[in-house]
Symmetry: C2
Subunit: 311 residues, 2 copies
């Protein structure tokens, strides 16, 4: 017998795809599923969070609700979509404080309102531990949609915002750092600007960490990547060791994308409504991922967060 | 402190609606959420199942996958929709047999294929107990959509199929009866025929039991209902006590709907592709629900399945 703890999340997903997508042409594999709606695509995505894996002890309900909403909206953002709404399925223990549930709902509603979405409905069920699935859906023009596929050799690799905001919690496990871990800001408006710029050739969010995300782009685009460590926009005050760790940290939700070099200048100049935008590397004519550290180019392994694995 | 076990599912949902729908005009409350897409509505619905509440010990994986797919498709069916696809978020214990996961996936895929849907993507996460959320999407013409709202005094109340197929398991708890409990057949094609007939004034599925479903129609339509016990199509061999119990049994997935009496005859004559269709009562000019048993009209209470309550 093989248990899924031995497989790990990636191998488990591969097994699922043998059933759901035996020919490999279903389109499964982007941040959202795409459904053809004529001139637009319907985008649909779901993410489940649960108490044991995602919600540190002591997290206030509002933050739980915000988080499960924001990570779903982030998938809409990475494809350049306009959110239509969210559904929530909530598995809740019977002994949960009703006010905690109120707080979760408030966090969901506040996050939806902040990003032009709304809660459309849901399901509540009894469950031994708090387990909440959010499903977000949105629309994007067919010519605007950003996929993981499409990066071409010579393209510039960009990252929004900064890396390292969540490192504090990973290092300390302290309650005061939970806020920066879970108060995710999905890059909805930035994704829309990017998708409509016509400059972006591929895009993904960083939910499983930079190294995993860049390998997703590599596989989908069948291209190589070379990043430059010194260009990566880390928060200040990090040691070299911290920076290295941040390359693989799950739970960052910036957008990682590639742009045609002839349009990259215009993109930089236009800005993203004030959000920092940094060129961190380029797309290469091979199928490897490297990072240049102190003038040495070294392989960047896919070492982001993986469920089911021992940690 | 109030815990949600004291509130029960209905009161918990009411609390959630105070946050998500303070004005009561969001449209939340039908089997699916509706999103305006021009000439059509996008239908979206999610349902979560988990090992402790929904999946009896010994259930094969295929049946788990079929069930979570079918109950979501049933919500699309009750609004008359054409399924577009499903997303699945799976919370799985690390020590789960990988072949069991394969079987779950196969059940999902088989159910999708049986009803013209497809798996569009999903999410896998670690969880202490198997917890799976399905989200189904579909489309329905605006003029065709069937809502809980719309029943008018004088309308005929209809039920598809038969009641009582699942009673065996509830009475015995025996492994041999799990199949009839979970091999739900969503009434997709029947829902489409009904929605396009122009005869239906309101519709719902029986997921929480006949008594709960009819009270949902009552509240949404602001109308009364009178059912006739002797007309209700129970499976054969049930005692009076069994029949009474079946009125409140959650997990039946037939369609309960009302029809304009002038069109009911045509509906009966056309048939539903072979599925039994029975007139079981009529819509009244008050706001109560009654059932006539042996010439006595008695109140039919809302006593269907409710999560969080002690059972």
């Amino acid at each position: 017998m093989t248990i899924i703890g031995d497989l790990g999340e990636k191998a488990a997903i591969s097994r699922l795809l043998e059933t759901f997508d035996p020919d490999g042409n279903s389109g499964i594999g982007d941040d959202c599923a795409l459904v053809d709606m004529g001139r637009e695509y319907l985008l649909a995505t779901c993410d489940m969070v649960n108490q044991e894996t995602h919600i540190p002890e002591g997290t206030r309900g509002w933050l739980v609700g915000w988080y499960v909403t924001a990570i779903n909206l982030s998938d809409i953002a990475s494809m350049g979509g306009f959110p239509l709404g969210l559904l929530f399925a909530m598995g809740l223990p019977k002994d949960m404080d009703a006010e905690y549930l109120d707080d979760i709902a408030r966090g969901m509603e506040d996050c939806c309102q902040a990003y032009g979405a709304r809660v459309l409905g849901g399901d509540t069920k009894e469950n031994p531990t708090i387990t909440i699935t959010g499903t977000a859906f949105g629309l994007v023009g067919k010519k605007d949609v950003m996929l993981r596929k499409g990066a071409r050799p010579g393209d510039i690799v960009f990252l929004t915002g900064q890396l390292g905001n969540q490192l504090g919690w990973y290092k300390s496990g302290a309650e005061q750092d939970i806020e920066s871990l879970l108060k995710v800001e999905p890059r909805i408006r930035e994704g829309q600007i990017l998708s409509q710029s016509g400059a972006v050739t591929s895009c993904i969010d960083l939910s499983d960490g930079l190294s995993t995300s860049i390998h997703h782009l590599r596989k989908a685009s069948d291209a190589g990547f070379e990043l430059e460590m010194e260009k990566i926009p880390f928060i200040s005050g990090l040691s070299d060791e911290d920076k290295e760790r941040c390359l693989h940290l799950g739970g960052e939700f910036e957008l990682l994308f590639t742009s045609d070099p002839s349009k990259a200048q215009g993109l930089m100049a236009s800005g993203l409504g004030g959000l920092k935008l940094t060129a961190i590397g380029r797309v290469m004519d091979d199928s490897t991922v490297h990072i240049v550290v102190d003038n040495n180019s070294q392989a960047l392994e896919d070492m982001g967060y993986e469920h089911f694995r021992e940690r």
